[in-house]
Amino acid sequence: MNWIRKKIDKVKEPFQEGEKFEKFAPAVNALDTFLFVPKDTTKKGSHIRDAVDLKRTMITVVIALIPALIFGIWNAGYQHYTQLGEEFTFMDAFIHGAYKIVPMIIVSYAVGLGIEFAFAVKRGHEVNEGYLVTGLLIPMIMPVDIPLWMVAISVAFAVLIGKEAFGGTGMNILNPALTARAFAFFAYPTYMSGDKVWVSEATEMSSVSGETILGSLAAGKEVAYESASMFSGLIPGSISETSTLMILIGALVLIATKVGSWRIILSGFIGAAVMGLIFNALGSSVFSGNDLMNFPWYNHLIVGGLAFGVVFMATDPVSAAQTLKGKWIYGFLIGFFGIMIRIFNPAYPEGIMLAILLLNVFAPTIDHYVIQGNIKKRQKRLKVKTA
């Protein structure tokens, strides 16, 4: 260990202050801090600090994503072989999925981190770890057959316009990963919706019916899957959004480590259930010809991107509401609007993406009212005193 440290210190010499490549220090430091927690000590204020840092927090989210990712990789292969009616083993499915998805992850990290490093060098601050999560999230919410160049452009758009334009990590209004998906969704709709994009290489076969459940409901077709499949995730869809089970495992990791806000996750599901119940109760009596209204509320919770969105996207601390009360409201409204958009607007079966982006925009407003509550208490106290 010591000799590695010495080697690194030697490599870092030209990047020290006053040396030739001083400007590139953030880039080198970012790589170095992945091997070693730096020896920085406290300078002002409290002399001791908690063991947790942003890197640990972000890695915990990545760990929480792994079950859904691995299942997504396998499911990509599973959908491919079953729809094509071919024989396959577990490993076949996994390898097929990995062949499709690993390059997407590599492209996402390469492009995203490249931009992050460039901005860190330009602005002279250290590289923030937020992209470790974003970079993995982006491929996980894309259709499996999306071309790599689209991934690259979406990532570039998300990082540049979604994040850096607002001042970098901690300042962005929208969740960068969802910004990437929304960009791809509106820029390349033919690659992002329909019945051919969700199963790998489905376009080459005419007989494949690779529609998502929400897609078929919106089109007024029968749903060919049981609730159990919807929960376990053996259905077509974006790469990692299908398995509610795996997502819930991730949610447990986030909640147990207190990295993700349980308030947002819980209230998100409650909001979705409430909206689902309302539409179930109304049934076709109000709007006819919309099968999504009669789709049982509990199924609404386990299909589409709702679970993934509520657990991994809505809980992004930067774009979510920051106050504790605000988090309850924010989560609830995401679930509530997510289902509403899903049902009312069959053109966008994935309402949850739009609902989260919408609430990202309104999160500061929600916070504003919570903060005003705190301020009003204080002003009232002052008034009582002076009166």
Binding site: V37, P38, H47, Q322, L324
Partner: protein, 449 residues
């Protein structure tokens, strides 16, 4: 009548190295120093200008430029050895070489409950006890012309391995009561005394003060929490706070006529060898109590781990501190230390470390930042250690941007840096929260006054 205060939110942190409950007379320090920086925003004007002048214990050394009544007196008799100055002739330290026996300035003996309140106040400030008071808002020395709406004394120390006030005050009970009696004459309102609810000490029998029986984790013992739960500060109001050992010094001054600057200092921390309570005087040399240490390996803190000052061999103990804490320096690299559930010997308030599982284990914590400073990303963590009705992150951001209206609305008058020590400790982004609050308060001092 006592008020019960139950604090729920806070930080339970068990550290190794509590001071043993035994009092030892510390060897006499060669020199004693008064450090003007210990009194934030005070600009000293020297009363004794010549180095080499003989001073008595209790003789004024300097006064505050803007509050002339506020005087700082010598803790010991001897020779004014040096007025150490820094850039632009700012006074850094006033060093006094101590005599073998202490020669005190003789003051009148006064029963605080019998005399005129104005005379009593003038007497207290003239004798050098006025500097013991701190004003909230802003955490600065008080103005003798103000009458605070209340005075708070917290005799319950909740900081990890903090010095036990009850033990320190043992043997000075009468002086403490006299001091409390004096405080009642200085305020228009009440004197509040925060005490540990679970203990059974003499503090429960103190008269003339509203007892606050406190239970709960740190920062429950901070006056900030106690003020907010009982009598919160509004705009334009002033509350004074004073530390319990200083109340005893004040009491002794009134009942004996001597300014006895006795300080009982707890030596604690995992790197300290003879952990005990040492009796000395205000401003003693650190090395009169502890041996010299290798400062590359050990950090000397004058004060506690949260709010103390980084000190070195040869420095003097700060004016208000009653602890010397020695903890290991954390200037080593840790390979893959950022992985969750690695290095569980470092405690974490988050659940990304197994340190949370053992409820009894005591930890040895070093000064490592355990990461690097980052943008504020994680939300909701500071709230968990903030028992006051304050939105910590929003207030910090208001201080960072210097937004006066927002700071005022979010309660800047109710907080001082130490109230944010826990938030600073748990913060994932390693923001220097106490420094940010200090800067925010300084903006308020210059802009609002």
């Amino acid at each position: 009548m006592a008020i019960d205060i139950k604090v729920k939110r806070g930080l339970k942190l068990r550290l190794k190295g509590e001071a043993e409950k035994k009092k030892i007379q510390a060897p006499k320090s060669q020199t004693y120093a008064i450090i003007p920086d210990n009194f934030h925003s005070l600009i000293p004007k020297m009363l004794i200008k010549k180095e080499g002048t003989k001073v008595k214990a209790g003789e004024p050394l300097f006064y505050s430029k803007y509050n002339e009544e506020t005087k700082v007196v010598s803790p010991v008799s001897g020779e004014l050895k040096e007025i150490e100055r820094g850039a632009r002739r700012r006074i850094l330290r006033i060093i006094i070489e101590a005599d073998d026996t202490i020669d005190y300035v003789e003051h009148e003996v006064i029963n605080p409950l019998d005399v005129d309140a104005g005379d009593l106040k003038a007497h207290i400030f003239e004798a050098g006890c006025g500097i013991f008071f701190k004003q909230r808002p802003y955490d600065i020395p008080v103005d003798a012309n103000d009458t605070p709406k209340a005075i708070y004394v917290s005799a319950f120390n909740t900081t990890p391995i903090g010095a036990d006030f009850e033990f320190i005050l043992k043997g000075r009970e009468e002086h403490f009561q006299t001091g409390i009696n004096a405080l009642t004459r200085l305020t228009a309102g009440k004197v509040y005394l925060g005490i540990d609810k679970t203990s059974k000490s003499f503090l429960h029998d103190i008269k003339n003060a509203e007892l606050l029986k406190i239970s709960g984790p740190h920062p429950a013992g901070n006056t900030g929490v106690q003020i907010q739960k009982t009598n919160p500060i509004n705009k334009g109001e002033k509350v004074w706070t004073i530390r319990p050992e200083d109340v005893a010094i004040l009491g002794e001054l009134l009942s004996t006529g001597k300014f006895n600057a006795e300080r009982t200092v707890a030596v604690c921390g995992s790197d300290a060898e003879d952990r005990a309570y040492y009796t000395t005087l205000i401003g003693a040399e650190i090395n009169s109590i502890i041996e010299e240490v290798d400062t590359l390996k050990t950090r000397i803190i004058s004060g506690d781990v949260f709010t103390g000052d980084w000190s070195h061999n040869g420095d003097h103990i700060n004016f208000f501190n009653n602890e010397i804490t020695l903890i290991p320096e954390g200037n080593q690299y840790r390979m893959f230390g950022w992985l969750p559930f690695k290095d569980n010997h470092i405690p974490s308030f988050s659940n990304t470390s197994l340190s949370r599982l053992s409820s009894k284990k005591k930890f040895e914590v070093n000064t490592s930042l355990n990461g690097e400073e980052r943008a504020l990303v994680v939300t909701g963590e500071m709230e968990k250690v903030m028992p006051m009705d304050i939105l910590p992150m929003q207030l910090l951001k208001a201080c960072m941007t210097g937004d006066i209206d927002k700071m005022e609305n979010l309660g800047i008058y109710e907080v001082i840096p130490e109230d944010f020590a826990c938030a600073e400790y748990v913060n994932t982004s390693k923001i220097e929260a106490q420094e940010v609050i200090r800067q925010g308060l300084d903006i308020m001092i210059t802009e609002v006054g």
